[in-house]
Subunit: 262 residues, 2 copies
DNA sequence: CGGTTATTGTCCACATTATGGACAATGGAT
DNA sequence: ATCCATTGTCCATAATGTGGACAATAACCG
């Protein structure tokens, strides 16, 4: 696969921090659990770590305030310290700022809900959502929703925009988590291939019954995908003809965002 | 010191996570560096860890996206992943919601800038700020500003509201960081004692020349301090007589917040 | 410029730390 | 009252993370 081009490969990861890496991975898994959090068991399954290890790390994170445990349910979730640490950063990322106007205009034009989704590690994260004017809107994904790369059309689009090698690596890494979303590695890999061929990602069978999603990718100057732009609607609203129209609109919008963030 | 009362002592901290604890401590130190971040050297000083250890951990955190390095300055700062993790939580804490109206009314009444500051670990963190109507306002502290407990009037107030044992422990822990704020443990301890006697914290010599701050504490139902309510103004605006008036207003506002969060 | 210092980065022998198998406790469910 | 599912704890042991010593830059300066 080495074609001599200056592809930026990740330098071999630094050693001597297994525990820290594990803890951060745990945090991301917990983040995927959102406000309601996850029971220990699911965290163990998603991480493929031993239960004692997960237990120990999660309790240390609790002592440190990065994780909370819900009184009633016993589920573990992201704690108050995390947003507190986040205050050290400017409130709005360049991407969000750049996409703001474009999202508004585009969602008005197409009438359906638009999502802006970024990649964060091996996950997708919904960072903005604009509701359209059509009376039936797909709102299943909220801002902050996090899923393994590959299980949503946005995730597939982002994987399709990555070098094949890396997308395969991520699909392999996320494999243990796919079961929870009723998919598997083979399916994801073929969806990625489809998306590469088409130039955009599609999901006929959304996580919500009867919905369909289409995603285009947004690349940074160096060619790595920065985000995905997704439209979701009830399936009947995205038949072949309209799919073409909508895709054109999305591609144009994605291109505009790309220009703004350079 | 054991008087038989059911004082909640921290259970002995869990073992087997030295590295994780260190990494989180590093994150908090970096958070104190705000947007501009800190050079490695200062992180080393603040943490009292060996330089190789800090270096290794910080670079792992960079690989994981929790820390960024500024291109120009080479300083390390909190990275994009942190706010991304924070999206897993509801946007607004109960405290902020409860304090919202009260802060607005109170800042209108007194005319000077009000700050709402919480304790997070061994730090204070400014989580809200309301600017008053008087033409000279002290704005030195921004939302997100983080300092070791003890160096601001808010920090002193919170320490004063904690059990003596714990406030002493924190003052000792933070000692290495005090130098950077031109204070020391002895001074802090005596300020805490003063605040306990008075019922509120005062700082005649603010971090900014010629300003003065007064802080009252806000306690949760279980008696632990949840936050501090601070007024800052140019010193001449807080002479003895007005100090009394302002303190009464602050105490009343703090009491109202306390009622709301129970 | 060459030289000096301040800061950041790397290496690796070694001791401490973190690991996970096995066992215990808790708490619903029936 | 008994069972099953889930969470919690222990501890011998291997592997991980540590920090002293050395190296490489970057910043400063005459």
């Amino acid at each position: 696969m080495d074609n001599g081009l200056p592809i930026t490969l990740d330098p071999e990861p630094r050693q001597g921090a297994q525990a820290i890496r594990r803890a951060l991975f745990l945090l991301r898994v917990l983040a995927a659990g959102g406000e309601s959090g996850l029971p220990l068991k699911e965290v163990v399954q998603a991480t493929r770590l031993s239960r004692p290890t997960v237990h120990r790390i999660i309790h240390v994170l609790m002592e440190e305030g990065l994780v909370e445990r819900h009184e009633r349910s016993g589920r573990y979730a992201i704690g108050t310290q995390v947003p507190e640490l986040a205050l050290a950063r400017p409130s709005r990322s360049p991407l969000l700022a750049a996409a703001d106007d474009i999202l508004r205009e585009t969602s008005q034009r197409v009438g359906d809900t638009l999502f802006l989704t970024v990649r964060t590690g091996n996950d997708t994260l919904c960072v903005d959502r604009r509701i359209g004017s059509y009376p039936i809107q797909v709102l299943s994904i909220a801002i902050g929703a996090r899923r393994p790369l590959g299980v949503s059309s946005a995730g597939v689009a982002i994987l399709a925009a990555l070098p094949a090698q890396e997308s395969r690596r991520i699909a392999a890494t996320n494999e243990p988590r796919f079961a929870g979303y009723r998919t598997d590695r083979q399916t994801v890999l073929s969806e990625i291939a489809d998306a590469r061929r088409r130039g955009y990602g599609v999901r006929e069978v959304g996580l919500v019954q009867g919905t369909k999603s289409i995603s285009t990718w947004i690349k940074t100057a160096d060619g790595t995908p920065a985000a995905a732009l997704t439209i979701s609607a009830v399936r009947t609203r995205l038949g072949p003809r309209r799919e073409q129209e909508v895709v054109e609109t999305l591609l144009k919008a994605a291109y505009e965002v790309e220009q703004k963030i350079r």
